[in-house]
Symmetry: C2
Subunit: 193 residues, 2 copies
């Protein structure tokens, strides 16, 4: 998606450790016009799929997932990280390893909100190693629901998550795939799609 | 807002400890049509204010804040809870006491995204004791920005947060104010507005 690639080139900040910061428009401050365009693009890409629910994970995925859910006119469900006492009753849960924060955490969704009749489009802002994404897939699978597709805003193509998930047969669409970044020159190379 | 009150009556679940669960449409699964209507209502209520930024706190405030930011056509900034290593540079931060989780946590926003020129509408899903809301006000004040107003989806009128904030002179609009709940009969009394 050219609009997103241009925005990453203009406003993204490269930092040590293969970090690409896009906190000025995607995951701290959010440009709602851009997120709206991205939601419409996910709708276009998955228009052939019978999606009845969007699933994401708190917190930074919620913005783009909202915009996408609005385009599909379906509810949004977000997986919670484990501290939440306010979730009632039974939950599906799984463990996720976070490279960013160097720890393992549990993610949960209430069993009341996902089941065998659901056709789920998973949406998230970033894909790198794919641990959070695999966790979300595990939750959908545990519920007996169907993963209709996966929509990612920015995939780091030089990390293994995207390749691993595609090899498992999931339809994964990333709006921008960064194949390499050079912190010294500031150059960002996007994959042709 | 009648639409929200009716939805709370229909789908809200009362639980021990003055808990009102609305996780089936507001803060775990989100009904995007309802959130869209609520965003439009906030726009109507604060139409006279020169809002150029929406501020909320992760995670459950992000959905309604997104919808509101879209109606105002302004960016959304969400305060992060303290674990986030990925925020670069200087941040404004403050401590928040959570009654729900029985602990104190730090919330932060990047100094890059809020400053003296900003006119901020604070949006959140719930107001009870007002600790999180006071934390957000503190962040806006620390940045030298102006709090133009505060929009809350559901205020628990029998807890002190709303009264305290209004007495400080802030313009606080809650789409539904629950004045009492009876867990045995299931009755919910809303304040006339």
């Amino acid at each position: 998606m050219k609009l997103l690639e241009e925005r990453i080139r203009r406003d993204g900040i490269l930092a040590e450790g293969n970090v690409l910061k896009v906190d000025c428009f995607l995951n701290h401050m959010m440009d709602m016009r851009l997120l709206g365009e991205m939601g419409r693009e996910f709708k276009r890409l998955f228009a052939d799929r019978p999606v009845n629910k969007i699933l994401t994970i708190e917190a930074s995925g919620i913005g783009i997932a909202c915009m996408t859910a609005q385009c599909f006119d379906v509810p949004l469900l977000f997986a919670k990280k484990a501290r939440s006492l306010n979730i009632s009753g039974d939950v599906y849960s799984t463990e996720v390893r976070s490279y960013t924060y160097g720890q393992t955490y549990k993610i949960t969704v209430s069993k009341r909100f996902i089941g065998p009749k659901d056709h789920v489009l998973i949406i998230d802002d970033f894909l790198a190693n794919g641990c959070a994404l695999q966790g979300l897939i595990d939750l959908v699978t545990a519920a007996g629901a169907t993963v209709e597709g996966i929509g990612i805003c920015i995939e780091k193509g030089f990390q293994p998550g995207g390749k691993t998930i595609r090899e498992k047969g999931y339809r994964l669409e990333s709006l921008a795939i960064v194949d390499s970044m050079n912190i010294e020159t500031g150059e960002i190379v996007f994959r042709e799609q």
